[in-house]
């Protein structure tokens, strides 16, 4: 245990592998559903409707929506994976083992959030591959694209972890992805540039944090953005910081984990 006095590596790996095994058990459900959904988006918006639309910021409509669609899936999957990851042990009672083990709060979060982020990044890459079958994709800043993807997967997985701890039923578990994230994503420029909106709605859209995420991610693909890349990056870092603070508070107070 000497090495584990500072860091319980085997503990983190055990939780991480357990979560990834759950992903493998439901591989078809985990991958096929989002891939089919994304393909349908491309068929409807990219080919059927997109063919009748002009370019946006010099990019074909089909290609324009790729970053937004990818983000939509990554947001949703990160939230779902991380929230279910921590909610299920709470629901089944197996959380007792994690809480009684010599693992720190940081290690617990690292394992659950790391596994959830891994899953959503894998899914994002699969969706990117699927999109490339429908539209030609060129990524101008691949390293920034990877960095944005990682940052978004991590911060939304943290948000999912918080939602999973907060949830006291499956209905609450679906509340944040379905009623908050999906509408914010649809209104956050996934399918359009906010420059296309009337000035009033453009101003309103700037209060939607998802706008900054999609804009920054789209910039990494095509070099064009609704808002400055620096601002996008700062907004994402702030969101990450907010999530980290909430997770810290959860473990400090034992909120809905320890009575």
């Amino acid at each position: 245990m000497n090495r584990q006095r500072l860091f319980n590596l085997y503990g983190v790996l055990a939780i991480y592998r357990f979560e990834m095994a759950r992903f493998r058990r439901t591989l078809w459900q985990s991958l096929a559903t989002p891939v089919i959904t994304t393909s349908l988006y491309f068929v409807v918006f990219g080919s059927a409707i997109g063919a009748r639309m002009g370019d946006v910021d010099g990019i074909s409509y089909g290609a324009f929506i790729v970053p937004g669609l990818l983000m939509l899936s990554v947001f949703t999957e990160s939230l779902n994976n991380a929230s279910i990851g921590i909610y299920l042990p709470k629901f089944t009672g197996t959380i007792y083992e994690v809480l009684s083990a010599p693992v720190s709060a940081f290690e617990i979060v690292l394992a659950y959030v790391g596994a959830a982020a891994t899953k959503s990044i894998l899914l994002g890459l699969v969706i990117l591959g699927t999109a490339s079958l429908f539209v030609p994709i060129h990524i101008q800043h691949p390293l920034w694209m990877a960095a944005f993807l990682l940052l978004v997967a991590l911060s939304f997985s943290l948000a999912g972890f918080i939602a999973g701890v907060w949830s006291q039923g499956f209905e609450q578990l679906q509340f944040i992805p379905m009623l908050i994230i999906t509408p914010m994503t649809f209104l956050g420029g996934a399918f359009y540039s906010i420059d296309m909106l009337p000035p009033v709605w453009r101003t309103v859209s700037l209060f939607n944090p998802v706008v900054y995420v999609i804009s920054g991610f789209r910039w990494s693909f095509y070099g064009t953005a609704d808002v400055g890349v620096g601002i996008s990056l700062m907004a994402m870092m702030l969101f990450l910081l907010l999530c980290l603070t909430l997770v810290w508070l959860i473990f400090r107070t034992g909120y809905r984990l320890k009575s």
Binding site: M1, Q4, R5, N8, L9, Y10, G11, L13, A14, I15, R17, F18, A21, R22, R25, T92, G93, T94, Y96, E97, V98, L99, S100, A101, P102, V103, S104, G254, K258, S259
Partner: protein
């Protein structure tokens, strides 16, 4: 005293205002089997959960093998294995994967040989590739024990280990617990089956309404608080207890056909011959004699009743 767990002035008040534990102090000796008895809601599971790190304490100090459970939680928790009362398991996992998970979670490198030994000891080896959802209730309880033993703990908490299991499995578990104690593991068990504590425990603690009302060796507890009864079946019914028998605590039962004498355990060697001699002197004839000793259950019920 060579304590492995030391609990000092432990208090727990839940957010609801419920005072689950009140000023509990307890020393668990290394290598013993300690049974914690108490009625439902007495605070047994809360006490175990606090030591294991699942529930927060309100005040007090607890150390496991000299390690404070808050400041040195890694060292303290790595020495503890917990078998919960409820069958909390990951139904879709296989037996092998779940014990492997438990070992890793507690910071131990993989050790297939140790896991194989644990599974064989618990008659689970042939089931290692089975999903937990396909096992019987008794087998699931064995899996929970295997998970608790996967990281080679020095202290094992068994919260109602034989609740809802059949007699054969209960006997198997008692044998396993003794085997673990013989290998140096300290066992703390809570149970509703007083016979289980009577059968296995070295020491017994009785908790009621969050207060530890008694801790003692089982033998000494039985001696101090146990009662013995001599039942004398009379040849002729007796209408009233004769004046010459006023020195004994006697009751007439069965319409005067039985004389019941109660005395403290340990006094029988003096009390029984004296009483029988006195009966002879008074010309009271009897056809049969029976003795019975109060069980731990009766002692427990009396203790709890007195503490109300």
């Amino acid at each position: 005293m060579n304590s492995i767990i030391s609990i000092a002035h432990l208090n727990k008040r839940y957010a609801s205002g419920l005072e689950a534990l009140r000023d509990v102090s307890l020393e668990i000796e290394r290598g013993e089997i300690f049974a914690l008895l108490g009625p439902n809601g007495a605070g047994k599971t809360t006490l175990i959960s606090i030591v294991c790190g699942i529930v927060r304490l309100s005040s007090g100090n607890i150390s496991v093998d000299g390690h404070d459970i808050a400041r040195e939680y890694r060292a303290a928790r790595s020495k503890i294995g917990l078998v919960p009362q409820e069958l909390h398991t990951d139904m879709f996992e296989t037996v092998w994967d779940t014990v492997k998970f438990s070992r890793g979670l507690f910071g131990h490198r993989p050790d297939a040989a140790h896991l194989e030994k644990v599974l064989r000891d618990l008659s689970l080896w042939t089931k290692r590739h089975d999903r937990i959802m396909n096992l019987s209730g008794g087998m699931k309880r064995r899996v929970l024990i295997a998970k608790a033993l996967a990281h080679e703990p020095q202290v094992l908490f068994l919260d109602e280990p034989t609740a809802g299991v059949d007699v054969e499995l209960r006997r198997d578990m008692w044998a396993l617990v003794r085997q673990l104690r013989d290998s140096g593991v300290t066992i703390i068990l809570t149970t509703h089956y007083i016979a289980e504590a009577e059968e296995m425990a070295d020491r017994i603690g009785v908790i009621n309404k969050g207060e530890l009302i008694l801790v003692d060796d089982k033998a000494s507890l039985m001696k101090k608080l146990g009662k013995k009864q001599l039942l004398v079946q009379l040849q002729e019914p007796m209408l009233a207890i004769p004046d010459g028998l006023n020195d004994w605590q006697l009751v007439l039962n069965d319409g005067g056909n039985e004389l019941e004498c109660t005395f403290d355990t340990g006094e029988e060697q003096r009390a029984v011959p004296t009483l029988l001699r006195r009966l002879g002197e008074l010309g009271v004839e009897f056809r049969d004699l029976k003795t019975r000793q109060s069980s731990l259950e009766e002692i427990f019920v009396n203790l709890v009743r007195q503490s109300r």
